[in-house]
Amino acid sequence: MIQLAGTALVGILEEALDRHGKSPQAALQVLMSVQRALHHVPDEAVEYLSSRLSLPPVRLRGLVSFYSFLSRTPQGEYVVHLSDNITDQMRGSRKLGDALCERLGVRLGETRSDLRTSVHRTSCIGMADQGPAALVNYRPVTRLDDQRVGLIADLINARVRLEEWPPEFFRVESNIRRSDVIFRKPIEPGAALRASLDRGGKNLEAWEEDLAPTDARRHQLERGGAETLKEIYRAELRGRGGAGFHAGIKWQSVREAARDDRYVLCNADEGEPGAFKDRVLLTDFADMVFEGMTVCGHVVGARKGIVYVRQEYAYLHDHLQGVLERRRARGLLGTNILGSPLDFDIELHFGAGAYICGMETAMIKSIEGRRGIPRRRWPLPVHQGYLKAPTVVNNVETFACAAAISARGGAWFAGIGTPQSTGTRLFCLSGDCERPGTYEYPMGVTIREILRDCGALDAQGIQVGGPSGALINRGDFDRAVCFEDLPGVGAMMVFGPKRDLFDAITNFALFFQHESCGLCTPCRVGTTLLANYVKKFERGVGSPVDIAEVKHISSLMKNMAHCGLGQSASNHLMDSLQKFPHIWESRMKTQEFVPAFDLDWALEEARSLTGRTDPAAHLPARP
């Protein structure tokens, strides 16, 4: 059946199957392994895997076509993904990318004819505090500059193995610039679990005598979970992944669900451009995150947890596995945790490049080995989630907070922050600030205080909470970051006084167009229409009619889109129209409508295909 590389190919495929298993849920993991080994997923591989995984080829091809890091056609043996967030662009990533392509003799998005290398652009890879950054064979290379780019080109041209590249290329800093009560002194591994188990009563004698010891221990376990749930409620812990839903309510629903198979999923997709705090947590506080998941397992009665890690963070695989191994060895994971009847274990699951997979029901589908398309709203994951079982989905930071709460009590946590936003929060500062990195503050901190600490008081604007959040100007700097005022994940991209914010909104509009899953009409079509309007203004031929149209489409998407992506994909445009109207007005040539269609622009494709740049390849400019 396999003709090309014959047994070598089969060997690679079998190895991937051995590593990830042959269940349908393994499909995406297997394909990503194949991609890494062969730099694409050839049709022969799809055919072979289809019979081994008992899934139709069309289903596997569907995965390859959906996830950005999978490709059907060969990419380079050295595949470079340049992070294309606005913060990368602000530090010259586009020029560096061009230089890299030139030195490699390859065009962006195409593979060199000797199959040695290919260079692509990708959405923010979670290194906004140390960009411009790129992934080389899925390993992050940070702080790109002319010199580094030149060296990378030389190393690729000389076919030097990544293991022999200068290790400092791959250095990723946590850049924790400020810590507060939760992360200044992380809890000892096991402390949160022990506290949770102890809440059920410390010794068996206290239990009624007519219970057999195993039953008594089960009751103890049960009561410990119930008591810890009360602490979570007392803490008023709200989700850190975006929506701010109360964790206690979620946990209780799953705890009370009528099925015995329950799951705890940790959302480490962190796809919001400019966000990187989950990367820092997984790097420096993985124990706390896993412990929070295990405490959750105790509370809700789950035996299995899964962390969904974006592919951009797959370089953390060995580190995370190591922490899990250590926890198993210490009796903090596995069966009979800390000698109790509690069984719980954690698996890692990796994405393959799709922002939408951070949306919880899309993430569930992705973990099931499917395309990451959001499900319909009902039933909720707490009733029917992963494999239709009751499922808790929480953000990485939410689990870390839960561990702290179990160890130190709900009242302690509730005493930090504001009445409706308890605890602290991690902020990711990037862009035009002197000290980019991660900052922990109690909830309710003002923007001004953050800007002072990171050295950005001269900022003209900040994108708070990533592109789907809010673009604010100086008038908002005294606002507080908390659920009552400025919510959203803690990503803050700072724009200094000299920046043209139109570059930022252009970047965001293209981001949403690229990341829309395509399920629903308003978002699938709307993100493209909006991106085209932004491009029209970029060319300087916008008009008030077009602005009215942008507002119209935006309101349509807010009201009619199926999920949060489409509903928030135009926030940055609306905010910029309100807070920075001049960036739009300066791009209007006329008060009259000008058609987007222009004969000369229409020739652009022909020009680029034929490589023509000479004047004769252009039509005379419009009068």
Partner: protein, 240 residues
């Protein structure tokens, strides 16, 4: 029987029914394209959006609740539905006058129903692969609105698995489950529910062109809404 309010009318419902189903039973038509009574709801076209306390929900998936006040035919919602239909038109290539489905096309009929006068937005003029390889069925992807009715119908009603969606976002497309990716060699047959239920001219059974002349086709003779309401109520009568 519990009831809820759809605009000003009181609509009875049974437990577990969605707003759309209850409305259809009561003779109130809510425009929809991706919903079919015999299939699991999909909530992708978003035409059926209604608001409850000002918050939007797709009525094809939202369960009816006792006493709830649902707004459906407000001017704002009607305008938004029209815009969604316009989006579907500019996304593809819909040349109604030369389409075999004209007059029996739900997309076209819904556009009429919603009073669409023009396509308003910029046309995208996509070029997607057309598939004429099969002797009995043709697929024109430029007319496909990705409602996935064929995907669901092929699995649930035909007991096959002929279709899937590939790609992402605006580039997503209907894919065919066959070794070559073409209809020829797939399990499709012209009598499949997948073909029959396609609401547009994307999937067409070949060899039946102009069985009835333009002007005398299904929705030329009777409005889409009254046909569908009648069919739905007949279906309910059988199933209850």
């Amino acid at each position: 029987m519990p009831t809820f309010y759809l605009d000003d009318s009181e609509i009875p419902f049974t437990d577990g029914e969605t707003i759309l189903e209850a409305a259809m039973s009561a003779g109130r038509y809510i425009p929809h394209l991706c919903w079919r009574p015999e299939l699991e709801p999909h909530s992708s076209c978003r035409l059926c959006t209604v608001t409850i306390n000002g918050r939007p929900f797709s009525s094809c998936t939202q369960p009816a609740l006792k006493g709830q006040k649902v707004e459906c035919d407000t001017p704002a919602l009607l305008a938004m539905r029209r815009a969604v239909i316009q989006m579907l038109f500019v996304e593809g290539n819909h040349h109604c006058p030369c389409c075999e489905k004209s007059g029996a096309c739900k997309l076209q009929a819904t556009a009429y129903l919603l009073g669409m006068q023009d396509s308003h937005f910029h046309h995208r003029f996509p070029v997607r692969m057309r598939d004429l390889s099969h002797e009995g069925v043709s697929l024109d992807r430029d007319r496909c609105i990705r409602c996935e009715i064929c995907v669901r119908a092929s699995r649930a009603l035909d007991g096959k698995n002929v279709f899937a969606i590939h790609g992402r976002g605006i580039e997503s497309n209907l894919a065919v489950n066959s070794p070559s990716g073409l209809l020829k060699g797939s399990a499709i047959s012209p009598d499949d529910a997948a073909v029959r239920l396609c609401p547009t001219g994307a999937l067409i059974a070949k060899g039946r062109g102009f069985e009835s002349p333009i002007g005398l086709r299904a929705y030329d003779r009777e409005p889409l809404s009254s046909i569908e309401l009648r069919e739905y109520q007949a279906r309910r009568a059988v199933h209850d």
